[in-house]
Subunit: 357 residues, 2 copies
C-alpha cells in the first residue's frame, strides 16, 4: 500500500492506494471521529462491496442508503432523499458519511455531507477507475441542474480517500476505459513522461495488470493532489484539470446526462481541444494525432456526436468555467503542457464544432 497526503490550510487528508484495503477494515475505521457512520452507495456496488464496510464499521451502527445507479441521481432530489434517510436513522452531527461507489456516488455523498446539518465529515471509498484517479480527490462535490452539470455544489474535502484497486476487478470494460480518459488527461496537461509510459503500457492497463493499474492511479492522484494543494478553489492552475471538459460537458449535456459516460465525453473533448490547439498553431499536428491514437487505444471515442454547432456553443456558454460570458478553454502548447485562454477566434471554434461544415 502507498499513502499520499493532500495538505490544505484547513487540514490535510491521506489518500491510501492498495489492494485488499476494504476487507482489512482498519483504514475504514481510522477516519471515524464520532460514534456513528452512514454508508451511501448504489444498487450496483452494494452487492459487491457493501458487506466489507458494514462489517468493518459495525461498531458505529452504520445507516445505509442504497441509491439507484446512474448520473440522473446527481440531483437535489437525491440530497433530499439522503437527508430524510439520515434523519430517520437519527444520524446527528457526529456522523461520518462514507461514499462507496463511483464518481456519481462520491459527488452526491460529498455534497450531502457538506450540507447535512451544516456539515458532517465524510470518507471517499471510490470503486471505479474514474473516481479513483479523479473525482474522489480534491473536494469538488455537487449535483447537476437541468440546465447544467455540477451547477450546485461545494468545495468540501473528505477526511480520507481509500482506494482499493481490487475493486477494479468487477468494473465493466466500458467504465475502465472511461477512467483511462482522466488518466491520459494528467499526462496530456502536465506529465509528458507519464504520457509516454501510458503509450507503452496501455495494453497492460486494459488487461487490468495490477501493478500497471496501481502505478497509473498513484501518479494520477499525486498529480491531482499537487494541483489541488496549489489551488484548492480553482482560482488558477486547477482549471487546467478541466482539459477536455468544456467540450465534454457540452457533449454530456447535449446528449442527456448518462448517455455518454463522463470519461467518454472527456475523451472526445480532449481530441477536440487538441485539434483546436493545432488549428490555432499551438500544437504540432503529429502531437494532436499522437494523443488521439492513445485515446483510441484506451477504447474511447475520439469523435464527438453530431450536435448542431450552435447547440454546442449554448451548452459551453453555461459551463462554470465561462467568465463574463466568455468561454475559457484549456489548450495544449505541447504534449504535457496545457494553458488557459479565452482568446479563441470564432471561426476556429466553429471548424472544430462542425468539422463537415
Amino acid at each position: 500500500m502507498s499513502t499520499l497526503t493532500l495538505d490544505l490550510p484547513d487540514g490535510g487528508y491521506p489518500i491510501h492506494i492498495g489492494t485488499g484495503l476494504l476487507p482489512s477494515g482498519d483504514l475504514l475505521r481510522a477516519p471515524v471521529a464520532g460514534d456513528r457512520v452512514a454508508i451511501i452507495t448504489n444498487e450496483i456496488v452494494a452487492p459487491l462491496y457493501l458487506a466489507h464496510l458494514t462489517l468493518a464499521l459495525a461498531p458505529y451502527d452504520p445507516a445505509v442508503v442504497i441509491l439507484p445507479d446512474g448520473e440522473t441521481q446527481k440531483a437535489l432530489s437525491t440530497i433530499d432523499h439522503i437527508t430524510g434517510a439520515l434523519l430517520a436513522a437519527r444520524c446527528d452531527r457526529a456522523t461520518t458519511l462514507f461514499a462507496l461507489g463511483g464518481g456519481v456516488v462520491g459527488d452526491i455523498t460529498g455534497f450531502a455531507a457538506a450540507v447535512y446539518q451544516r456539515g458532517v465529515p465524510f470518507v471517499q471509498v471510490p470503486t471505479t477507475l474514474l473516481s479513483q484517479v479523479d473525482s474522489s480527490v480534491g473536494g469538488k462535490t455537487g449535483v447537476n441542474h437541468a440546465l447544467g452539470k455540477n451547477m450546485i455544489g461545494c468545495f468540501y474535502q473528505p477526511k480520507a480517500v481509500i482506494i482499493d484497486t481490487a475493486t477494479l476487478a468487477t468494473l465493466p470494460d466500458r467504465e475502465l476505459s472511461a477512467g483511462l480518459a482522466e488518466v491520459i488527461k494528467y499526462g496530456a496537461i502536465g506529465n509528458r513522461a507519464f504520457l509516454e509510459w501510458l503509450e507503452r503500457n496501455m495494453e497492460a492497463l486494459l488487461r487490468r495488470d495490477p501493478d500497471a493499474l496501481a502505478y497509473a492511479i498513484e501518479v494520477s492522484c499525486r498529480d491531482k493532489a499537487r494541483v489541488v494543494m496549489a489551488d484548492e478553489r480553482e482560482a488558477g492552475v486547477r482549471a487546467l484539470l478541466n482539459f477536455g471538459h468544456t467540450f465534454g460537458h457540452a457533449i454530456e449535456g447535449g446528449m442527456g446526462y448518462g448517455c455518454w459516460l463522463h470519461g467518454e465525453a472527456v475523451a472526445a473533448g480532449m481530441v477536440m481541444a487538441a485539434q483546436l490547439s493545432q488549428r490555432l498553431g499551438w500544437l504540432a499536428a503529429a502531437d494532436a494525432e499522437r494523443l488521439r491514437v492513445l485515446i483510441a487505444r484506451a477504447g474511447l471515442p475520439t469523435r464527438a456526436p453530431a450536435l448542431a454547432p450552435q447547440r454546442y456553443r449554448e451548452l459551453m456558454a453555461v459551463d462554470k468555467k465561462a467568465a463574463h460570458g466568455r468561454i475559457r478553454f484549456v489548450l495544449l502548447r505541447a504534449l504535457g503542457e496545457a494553458f488557459l485562454t479565452d482568446d479563441v477566434p470564432e471561426d476556429a471554434l466553429m471548424a472544430i464544432l462542425d468539422p463537415g461544415g
Copy 2:
C-alpha cells in the same frame, strides 16, 4: 449610521445600521466584486424596496428572482428554482447575490450563494426586525427538510449586511413582535443591562421609535457578532444563541412550518426554557416570571400550543443540537446568564411539556 465589523479568520465583513441606507445606494454597490448581480426577494418585499436595489445596482445588470412569501419556500426545490433562474440569466461565478427580505429570503439566498457553481458572494439586506437582529448576521444558511428545520445548509458568510431601519415602517405588527423575541433573547442569555433597558423601553419599541429600534438592533448585532467571532461553527458558546429554540423548533415543526412565526415559537420556547430552569433550581421563580412578562409585553405568545408531550420529545430529538441521541438544552442560571446542559431529568421535562398532565 453605525458600522460594526464581524472579524473571522477567512475575512470579516461590515454590518451597517442606519435609516435610509437603501435609497442612497453607495453601500449596496460597495461589496460588489464582479460585474454582475442578482437580487433574490419575495412578493411582499419586492413592491416596497426592490426598486431601490435595481436602481442602485443598475450598472451590474441585476437579475431578479421574486419568490412567493413564507417559510414553506425554505426547501431544496427553491434552490433548484433559483439556480435555474440564475443560469437562464447567464449569471456566472463572478455574480454577487443580494438577499432582500426577511429571514426566509436571507437563509435561502445565503444557501443558494454557497452552492451556486460551488460558491458566489452574497450580501444580506434584511427588511424585518428578526432578520436584522439575528438571521442576517453570522453566516447560517440553509433550508428545511420535511423531517426537520434547517437540516440542509452551510456556514457561509455574507460580504456585507446592510440594515436600513426605515424598512421597519412597513413591517406588520405581528412580525415586529416576532423580531423582538430574538432581541429579548440577547438580554436573557448574556446581557442583563440590555434586558433591563428593554423593560424600560418596550413601549417605545412597539410604537417604532426610530432611536429605540436602532439601539436595540445595534446591541443585538454587536452581541451576536461577538458570539460568532468566538465560535463561528457552533462548537461551543454559539449554541447559547439557541435559547428557546429547541422548544421553539419543536413548536414550529409540530404546528407545520409557517403556522407560528419563528419568533413566536422562540418566545414560547424561551418561557418553557425559563420554567425548566426554575424547576431544576437554577433560576428564581421571580426571574422566570419577569422574563415571561417582558415577552408578553412584546405582544408575543408565552404558552406553547398543546401538542402531545411525546410529540414534542420526538421533534426535539431530531433537532441539530441533539448529540449522541441526547437533547441539549440552553437554560438560565440567572437573567443574563445562560448555560448548556444535556442533563435534564425526564420528569422535569415532562412537567414542562405537559403542564396540565
